[in-house]
Amino acid sequence: MALNVLVVDDSAVMRAMIIKTLRLCGLALNAIYEAGNGEEALQILEHHWIDLMLLDINMPVMNGEEVLQRLRHNPETAALPVIVVSTEGSDLRIAALRQYGAAFIHKPFSPETIRTTVISMTGVCDEQHMEDGPFAGSGPDF
């Protein structure tokens, strides 16, 4: 299964870096959508099927925490895999985000961290592993 991914960050440069990292990781990707704040992200979700969301927290208009709350209260998006990619450093706030079922990646991040977290959240193998057959590989090979 190739993933439809939504990347939500108010920095266009950071969105581009995350997308580039996803592509370099060899993950099986289909469409990639971008949003500059939480409100834009929810609008995209209304019109497109998304398999995975990578979500910043500190954003204008609507922050990532509110997006997570809205997702979990909507039956259609309650189970959507979400990876929070943020500079947040408070372990109390990170624990609160994890209670919504979100994984957490701290900025700055390594490509390996993105890759292993995406695989663990979605269960989707990377392109090479798909070619070799399910679970044929022995894990990340950076």
């Binding site: 920095s11 500190n58 109390l92």
Partner: protein, 159 residues
Amino acid sequence: MNNTWKTALLQAAVLTFEELCFLFPETELTEEQQRATADAAVCVRFQGPFHGALQVNLCGQVLSIVTANILGEEDAPTPAQQLDALGEIANIICGNLLPHIAGAHAIFQLDAPQVVDAAEAPASASMACVTDVQLGLERGRVDLRLWAQQAVAASLGEL
């Protein structure tokens, strides 16, 4: 100046430039790096157990290199991309710095990065510079200044 805060600022900056920008900052500056003039500056203000601001100045025409490295592209980045990248760098350094100086439980709210005049201090009489760091980057330099409310600055001075 407080050594613990200076070390925390140094470590947060080195981590960010290494992992985000694939550059290796140097603590010993060459003459060329020392002479470099500012290209751009941004300031990230924060509120929490105490309030303050982190100002990041990039000097010596390294901003385009930094941005190109983040994007992983050979094409020259636009001025808008360069300022966006500098804001994200400041945001990440600040986010990594604050738990080290205020504790892992401390909750801070970071404002969006603002482009500022490199020579200008954050416009608030209630804040004082508590520590600063200079690092060599390629043929240029990054200057980082951490500001905190006067009461915090005064208490650091007494340590």
